[in-house]
């Protein structure tokens, strides 16, 4: 896919939220008669994007220090640039996506709460890396949810990617055991593992993930890399932080996949997650099609949101 194409995709997905936010910000800039109104409207705008009270207060604090009397009405454009910069600074600037090397086994384990889009993300990611000429194998380790294996199987077929066999109610750790060994035997350089959705408060289920991670380490042994990616639904509220915190404590999450960004929700929770836990966003998902998974780029995210 060409860069411009990706950009258009990204923008299309964000059009709704962008229009919304742009309209609000423009209105805000035009109507701000006093500092107080400006700050209140800024607060509303930020809270409604789900970035959370603490990040909002931090941003508001930046603007509180400004002496508004020095600015003409038109100068409020300056605040827009400022706001962009602040949001940009709060996000991650490391390179997005993941580094997949041809001469090692790149293992990606996808985790998250129920309904956050793990299986879809796994299928889309397989499609993406297959098109970049990697040798892939998919592992359906969600042996709990009815027909989750079948769902990934269908996606693997559409993406033209190999998938290992697994059966409902099988021990997910043993499925992963088979997966890692199959990847080595079949000389694959990339393994994508889909896991069952679980609420971060369920101790047993979180332990199950730790066990899976251990199996990966034991079986892969050397010449491998492991990315643990957590799906966060863009419609998620402040509980997203608790989710990220718990999964991170249990497994060490290396990145976020922000899903369902094609709706009207802003996905602002990723700002709070970055701020509180320093976990970067690696991908965004903007639709149900196989090619709807894109690299996350913080400048584009902020620009698409505010421009």
């Amino acid at each position: 896919m060409k860069i411009t194409h990706i950009l258009n995709h990204f923008k299309q997905g964000l059009t709704k939220s962008r229009n919304n936010l742009k309209a609000k910000l423009d209105l805000l800039i035009k109507n701000s008669k006093s500092k107080e109104i400006f700050l209140e409207q800024l607060e509303e705008l930020l809270i409604l994007s789900d970035i959370g009270v603490s990040a909002t207060q931090e941003i508001i604090h930046h603007f509180e220090k400004i002496n508004f009397k020095e600015y003409e009405k038109n100068d409020f454009i300056y605040f827009k640039t400022q706001l962009k910069k602040i949001l940009f600074d709060m996000l991650d600037h490391s390179s997005p996506g993941i580094e997949a090397k041809k001469d090692q086994l790149n293992i990606i384990m996808i985790v998250g709460v129920n309904g956050s889009g793990k299986t879809s993300a796994a299928g889309k990611m397989a499609y993406k890396y297959k098109n970049e000429d990697h040798q892939l194998l998919l592992v359906p380790a969600d042996t709990f949810r009815a027909a989750a294996i079948k769902q990934l199987d269908i996606m693997a077929n559409r993406a033209g990617v190999e998938i290992i066999k697994s059966s409902e109610n099988a021990d997910p750790a043993s499925v992963v055991f088979d997966g890692v060994n199959a990847a080595k035997a079949r000389k694959k350089n990339m393994l994508i593992i889909d896991t069952a959705g679980r609420l971060h408060t369920k101790v047993n289920l979180m332990n199950e993930l730790k066990k899976i991670k251990k199996v990966i380490r034991n079986e892969a042994q050397n010449n491998y890399s492991l990315e643990i990616l957590q799906t966060i639904d863009a419609t998620m509220g402040q509980n997203g932080i608790f989710q990220a915190k718990s999964f991170n404590e249990a497994l060490g999450v290396t990145g976020i996949i922000l899903t369902k960004l094609d709706g009207t929700a802003k996905g602002g929770i990723i700002v709070a997650i970055k701020k509180e836990l320093n976990i970067p966003v690696k991908f965004v998902s903007i639709g149900e099609k196989l090619d709807n998974l894109l690299l996350f780029e913080s400048d584009k995210f902020v620009n698409a949101l505010l421009d």
Partner: protein, 436 residues
């Protein structure tokens, strides 16, 4: 990291309690904290604004009574306000007087429609209905299969026509199919969709217009953020939604979305999803939810669950045995079984008032421990259960082997049991025991 709503309120009220009387400044501080707490609980910005202004009017108008402490009074006020918004009355399903009743499940992707459709069918069948599920999610890969497999586990029938037929036609065919059969309820599972997806929303409008379901239930994830009201509003505008089901409330989200939805939409919340099992499904009680949000625990639910797990005969029998000091391992075993019926340790703890204050909810409960105890007692003979004193070294060895556990685990269990018996002898404990 922020504290949850209940912890925040407790902090505010503790501060006020220590001051004694409420000044204007107290009210202002209090409102400020309540505002932040509500925003952190994902209550919609605009709803919070309205809530705070209502509360302010009430606080100013209401005279602080002499008998109540200011903190108690504010707790009462906030609780009442939240309960009022949540609906104050519980809402029943609209069941058609002339069968079949048609229930449509709708919502965004990943909110739990398929799982909840099966839970609802199971719930209704327990009340004597005969439900059939209808699979119309022709879009998501393997969605129909998911419904079939999950329904099969509860022996519930599913009507499906593959993925080629239009959703509305599948529903029509299902209605025709059951016309001469013994079903009185059709529960229609639909594909998850974005509210701004015109094409897919049209699919729902078509069903809504041509079938006119008796009940259309909108699934909302209890962890949703500020946008929940926007998507819900569009669903309500396009089709006639008459109930909300709040899913995944077994997590630690405070569920502020519930407040927002009730305040902005004229649709009652009817049920809540409380776990992944088919019977993890409950009626929505506004008063209880308000209490839960305020950290006052959910004692009513706990009592109800305990009551439904034990029948009267069992309670009086248990009482007798405790009084006579006859409580043996059989009774202990029965109680463990009952506890599993009531819910996981985690669910039980979350219903206890003040659990968050005592940090009980942060403790880790492993329900497998109960299973291990069950296995150990299960490996004992009846005689051993009636009279644990006879369990000597070689019996312990046998029990450990039989239950696949260590001897130390058997020893621990027997020690714990004798401690419990000793405690039961003391009157103070009996007084607090649920059966007394």
């Amino acid at each position: 990291m922020f504290a949850d709503l209940s912890d925040k309120f407790k902090m505010i009220f503790k501060r006020i309690k220590s001051r004694g009387k409420l000044s204007d400044k107290d009210i202002k501080n209090c409102l400020h904290e309540i505002r932040i707490a509500l925003l952190e609980a994902d209550v919609n910005y605009k709803v919070v604004k309205e809530f705070i202004s209502d509360l302010q009017t009430e606080m100013v108008n209401e005279r602080i009574s002499e008998s109540l402490s200011p903190s108690q009074q504010i707790i009462k006020m906030v609780h009442q306000e939240i309960a009022k918004i949540l609906g104050a009355v519980k809402s029943e399903l609209n069941l058609s007087s002339k069968p079949p009743t048609i229930i449509l499940m709708v919502g965004l992707q990943g909110t739990g429609k398929t799982t909840t459709a099966v839970k609802l069918a199971n719930y209704l069948n327990k009340k004597g209905h005969r439900s059939m599920l209808v699979a119309t999610d022709i879009h998501r890969p393997a969605a129909i299969e998911q419904l079939k497999i999950f329904a099969e586990k509860s022996k519930l029938p599913v009507f499906s026509m593959g993925t080629k037929e239009r959703a509305v036609n599948i529903v029509k065919a299902a209605i025709k199919f059951i016309s001469n059969k013994d079903y009185d309820t059709l529960i229609v599972d639909t594909a998850g969709r974005l509210h701004i997806d015109e094409q897919l929303m049209f699919e729902l409008e078509e069903i809504d217009k041509q079938i006119s379901p008796h009940e259309t239930l909108l699934l909302i994830d209890s962890m949703s953020g500020q946008d929940a009201v926007n998507s819900a509003r569009v669903f309500c505008e396009k089709i006639s939604v008459n109930g909300i089901i709040l899913s995944k409330i077994d997590g630690d989200a405070r569920g502020g979305a519930a407040l927002s939805l009730r305040k902005t939409l004229d649709v009652p919340i009817k049920f809540v999803g409380t776990g992944e099992k088919v019977d993890n499904f409950d009626i929505f009680y506004p008063e209880r939810m308000a209490s839960r949000i305020l950290g006052m625990g959910d004692v009513l639910t706990l009592i109800e669950k305990v009551e439904s797990a034990y029948n009267e005969k069992e309670i009086s029998r248990m009482n007798q045995r405790i009084k006579k000091n006859d409580f043996d391992l059989n009774d202990f075993y029965l109680n463990i079984k009952k506890m599993e019926d009531i819910g996981s340790m985690e669910q039980i703890v979350n219903m206890i008032p003040g659990a968050s204050r005592m940090n009980l909810n942060k403790m880790q409960y492993d329900d497998r421990e109960l299973k291990k105890i069950e296995a150990i007692i299960g490996s004992m003979t009846l005689e051993e259960r009636n009279n644990p004193n006879i369990i000597n070294g070689s019996r312990r060895k046998r029990i450990a082997r039989g239950s696949g556990s260590q001897i130390s685990a058997v020893n621990r269990l027997l020690k714990q049991f004798s401690q419990i018996k000793n405690m039961m002898k003391k009157r103070k404990f009996i007084k607090n025991f649920p059966f007394s």
